[in-house]
Amino acid sequence: MKPRPFHYLEPASSDEALALLADHGPAARILAGGQSLVPLMNMRLVHPQVLIDVNRLAALEFIRQEDGALVVGALTRHYQLESSQLARSVCPLVSEAVRWVGYPAIRMRGTFGGSLAHADPTAELPLVFVCLGGTATLAAHDRTRTVAAADLLRGPFTTAIAPAELLIDVRLPAMPATAGYAFQEYSRRYGGAALVAVAAVMEVEASGKVASARLGIGGVGPTPIRLPEEEALLAGAEPTEEAFHDLAQRVASRIDPGSDVHASAAFRRQLARALVARVLTDSHASALARRAQ
């Protein structure tokens, strides 16, 4: 459990980091919080020749509001997001979800950018990113581009981030103040990886009917999945237990989860069915409560 030899570089600025990335390209890996990369290196499953440590790039560590959206610097630690009042008021779903990331020691070091770039299909923040339809800013030494959530995450542990690119920040659209939300995941133990995770945002009409919804699910495919068909079915739906259960059943039958040592595909479907129903119920209750405020 010792890594292979590697060169360690510690740029003092983003420009320097981008220049190093341009030089080393695919041979380099970015070290941020190190909560996934370092164990993978120690197990010799990943062996970069060059490690570019971005932990000194304080400019990438911020949470702010721009044009209504919540903008989170890539180097923002999970605990910072967890305790941010701004995040809670602009985009409370992300505040809710980040509490499920690992446990406090991991949240002290792990970063938002690292979680997205690692693209673990069971991870919480990529799910929120997809569910809310966020965008990511990617910079190379000679250009900067913005990539939508659906385009960034390509597959398990695979993203659209080019070898010479650095993830700079993530933009999450502000949630309406009256929108309800819920996040639930099922893991084998506290702080463990999710077998299935579900996130939802819901707005309701005065009658209690669902006005609109966003629904995303993680752990059941190569990337977190947004469910636009089910979102469309929810718009205008009566908020009955049966309606939510039917929708959950529909989700369960449409996903194509994999099997591993913790859960078979069939059990993951069962979990998805249970969690979707609960998250819809919870987000509806949350919407009623927030509307009443």
Partner: protein
């Protein structure tokens, strides 16, 4: 003094909690080199060729060696096989020609640091010819590949344990219930993986081995045998040890290799196992299949218990027989079983070897007995609680002879009130009101279940431990014992006993342990034996020493012993406080430290335990939530209730791990699938319930102080307890559970066919 029985914080804690512990991995000796092992990626393969050339050229590598290069140490430590005629398959430090489990070491790299050593391990090229893997004990003798040449089958050891009329009594039973019950494989995973540092003093010609072990002396015996060196040239020291749970008590390859290279290279050699190696190469536990039958009379009284079971030994049966014997010897638990017949086959497979792991065969026994009692209750239409009450051994039957001869002498339960202990648990759980509560909750779609099971904790192995106590002229009192400690709090408990029986302030007492230079002989810390064995030795030595000090003081003070008082440091003549000396004045007068030692016999102790639990099972997600967990345990004469509570709770959490979370899985080719904490799920503090503890205190009759072993009792009932409770919760679905662990996936497989799309 009142030290025995006093709830005291541990002497060990301040250094450990402030980072001042000295574990093997903390040792950094000048010139130290490091080992890394080339481990087999195959469960079973012939080694065709080992190409070490490229590895040997990695800068910093001192050498790369396989079994052929180290022929002189390719031997096995003496194995422990109790049954006459049994076969012993024992490993050599490096596998020769054939590897028999994934993780088996077949070459070793010596290098200047561990990083380089691992680089070189990657560069060793081995050509393997895969052979068929054997991943179950339920083998068809006609087709199962034989793992060791010349063996007729993979059955290494076959033994029976009987009492009364054995299986013939089945004919007299009114009812016979039977079941096939399976217990999974588990990995102990102490916080500190196995570790060793060896260093050789050329001048003194003494090899010193710092070793995370449960028995420095056992490790020395094994090293002496394999290295061909007399024991007096080997010193083994167990420094702070970070958990052991039974798996750090056999010879492993690394201690032999480190010792060998320390002498060859004349440089200290270190190997500290990493987490992956702890999964791949350290003994695992449990893994049994039982075919059990219980015969009862019309009134639900047990007539006979007949069991045939298979113990998965893994690739070598060096230690697997021990838990198997414990299972057979404790199968009947705290119940009256007039006739018993247990037959066991210890069977080899191509997985990492098994051996004792906390409970060491006792949890499997409790699982089988308690589950077959549940089946019997269901079949006869008797309440699961009532059938237990009907069959528990009664206080007036004590001492109760089981009729089992036992490898450690006849098994006789000495004292206790089992029905009262069981009743404590039933009352604490409000079992009488539970069915009403359960029915009400089901109306709301909440599935509660209750579990109540009993167990016997057989502790000790019938062999004693020596303790020595010395008083110096400055008042220092040193207690010397052979057994190391692995986190149990020995030093605190032993100091309490010594201070109490000597009659001195506990601050004067220092406990030294786990060093072959300190004590000539010792067996080790396992089988919950240390308190009864070592504690009584300390007690006896302390009483003798007290008498000698008082006699010396009587001379000094020109008084008779009965006229003296000993209060704290001071011995005085009763009624004449000015005629007084500190106790160490006697030592000064004697001109040499005063010393006493004792090695009393240490018969096994048998402690009753009962646990009750209420769970909430979510049939939609298979989530099991523990709402209440009550543990009643007979700790005998308890030295330190804080330590007793800690042992009981720690064991109970480990037991829960084997019931609900942990599961050592292998694929059909024998590859382990759960070799990190991402895949092998240990319960943590969040998963652990708030236990409610009830202590019974029936002093053991078999030792002077009345101590009973109690370190495993907490873990013994767990698998049975959770099986019963979850089955009860899901009784509307008609679920039957015949296998542990009950992971969510395993529960889903049982429940899914009954869900009919109704559960959402």
């Amino acid at each position: 003094m009142g030290y025995i029985g006093q709830r005291r914080k541990r002497i060990e804690d301040p250094p450990l909690l402030t980072g001042h512990g000295q574990y093997v991995s903390d040792l950094r000796l000048p010139g130290m080199v490091h080992l890394a092992l080339v481990r087999s990626p195959h469960a079973h393969a012939r080694v065709q060729r080992v190409d070490k050339r490229q590895a040997a050229t990695v800068p910093g590598v001192l050498g790369v060696f396989d079994a052929d290069d180290l022929a002189e140490i390719m031997k096995s430590a003496p194995g422990v096989v109790r049954t006459p005629g049994a076969r012993l398959a024992a490993p050599t430090p490096l596998a020769r020609e054939v590897v028999r489990y994934v993780g088996e070491a077949m070459a070793v790299v010596v290098a200047e640091d561990r990083y380089v050593a691992e680089d070189a391990v990657e560069a060793v090229v081995v050509d393997y010819v895969p052979l068929p893997a054997v991943v179950t004990v339920e083998q068809d003798p006609a087709t199962a590949p034989i793992l060791h040449p010349g063996w007729p089958s993979n059955v290494a050891e076959r033994f029976t344990v009987t009492a009364g009329d054995g299986a013939r009594a089945l004919e007299r039973a009114d009812h016979i219930v039977e079941a096939t019950l399976r217990v999974g494989r588990f990995s102990a995973q102490p916080l500190e993986p196995r570790a060793v540092v060896a260093t050789y003093d050329e001048t003194a010609e003494v090899l010193t081995v710092y070793h995370a072990t449960q028995s420095a002396h056992n490790a020395r015996r094994g090293l002496s045998a394999v290295l061909g060196m007399p024991e007096d040239r080997i010193r083994v020291v167990a420094p702070d040890v970070g958990g052991a749970f039974g798996v750090k008590n056999r010879q492993y390859a690394e201690e032999v290799l480190a010792s060998y290279f320390a002498m060859k290279l004349k440089r200290p050699v270190k190997w500290v196992g990493d987490r992956r190696e702890e999964f791949l190469s350290t003994n695992q536990g449990r893994s049994q299949v039982h075919y059990v039958r219980l015969g009862l009379d019309a009134g639900g009284q047990i007539v006979v218990l007949v069991d045939h079971f298979l113990q998965d030994a893994g690739a070598y049966n060096i230690t697997a027989g021990m838990p198997a014997h414990n299972t057979a010897l404790t199968l009947q638990g705290p119940y009256r079983v007039p006739h018993l017949e247990v037959a066991c086959d210890v069977v080899l497979t191509t997985m990492v070897p098994t051996g004792p792991y906390r409970g060491a065969g006792r949890p499997e026994a409790a699982y089988v007995m308690e589950r077959i009692l549940d089946r019997a209750a269901d079949a006869l239409g008797i309440d699961r609680i009532a059938i237990r009450q009907r069959n528990l051994i009664q206080p007036h039957e004590m001492p109760y002879s089981t009729g089992i001869a036992g490898g450690r002498g006849p098994i006789t339960y000495d004292a206790g009130d089992y029905p009262a202990g069981f009743q404590h648990v039933l009352d604490a759980l409000d079992s009488a009101g539970f069915r009403h509560r359960q029915a009400a909750e089901r109306q709301r779609g909440v599935y509660l279940g209750i579990g109540v099971v009993n167990s016997i904790e057989m502790a000790g192995i019938g062999i004693g431990e020596k303790a020595r106590i010395r008083i110096e002229s400055d008042g220092t009192i040193t207690v010397m014992v052979g057994v190391p400690a692995a986190g149990q709090g020995h030093r605190t408990a032993f100091a309490q006993i010594a201070a109490e029986r000597l009659g001195v302030p506990i601050e004067r007492v220092t406990v030294m342990d786990g060093d072959t230079a300190l004590m000539e002989e010792s067996i080790g810390t396992f089988a919950s034996r240390s308190l009864a064995a070592v504690g009584n030795a300390i007690s006896i030595a302390a009483r003798r020493l007290r008498q000698r000090v008082l006699e010396g003081a009587a001379d000094l003070l020109e008084a008779a012993v009965p006229d003296l008082t000993w209060d704290g440091d001071v011995i005085a003549v009763r009624g004449a406080p000015s005629r007084a000396v500190p106790y160490w004045a006697v030592v000064a007068k004697a001109g040499a430290p005063l010393e006493e030692e004792a090695l009393p016999p240490a018969p096994p102790t048998f402690a009753f335990g009962s646990q009750g639990i209420v769970v909430d099972v979510d049939p939609h997600t298979m989530r099991v939530r523990i709402l209440d967990h009550v543990i009643c345990h007979d700790g005998g004469a308890v030295v330190n209730p804080l330590l007793a509570d800690g042992q009981t709770i720690g064991a109970a959490v480990q037991g829960l791990g084997t019931a609900l979370w942990e599961d050592m899985r292998f694929d059909g080719e024998g590859h382990p699938l759960t070799t990190s904490f991402a895949d092998y799920i240990l319960p943590g503090s969040v998963e652990s319930p708030d236990f409610r503890l009830i202590h019974q205190r029936f002093p053991a009759q078999s030792n002077q102080e009345g101590f009973r072993g109690l370190a495993e009792g907490g873990a013994i009932p767990s698998m049975a307890l959770l099986s019963q409770a979850i089955e009860d919760a899901l009784s509307p679905y008609g679920v039957r559970l015949d296998e542990v662990p009950i992971t969510p996936q395993n529960l889903y497989e049982v429940l899914a066919p009954r869900l009919d799309g109704e559960a959402r």
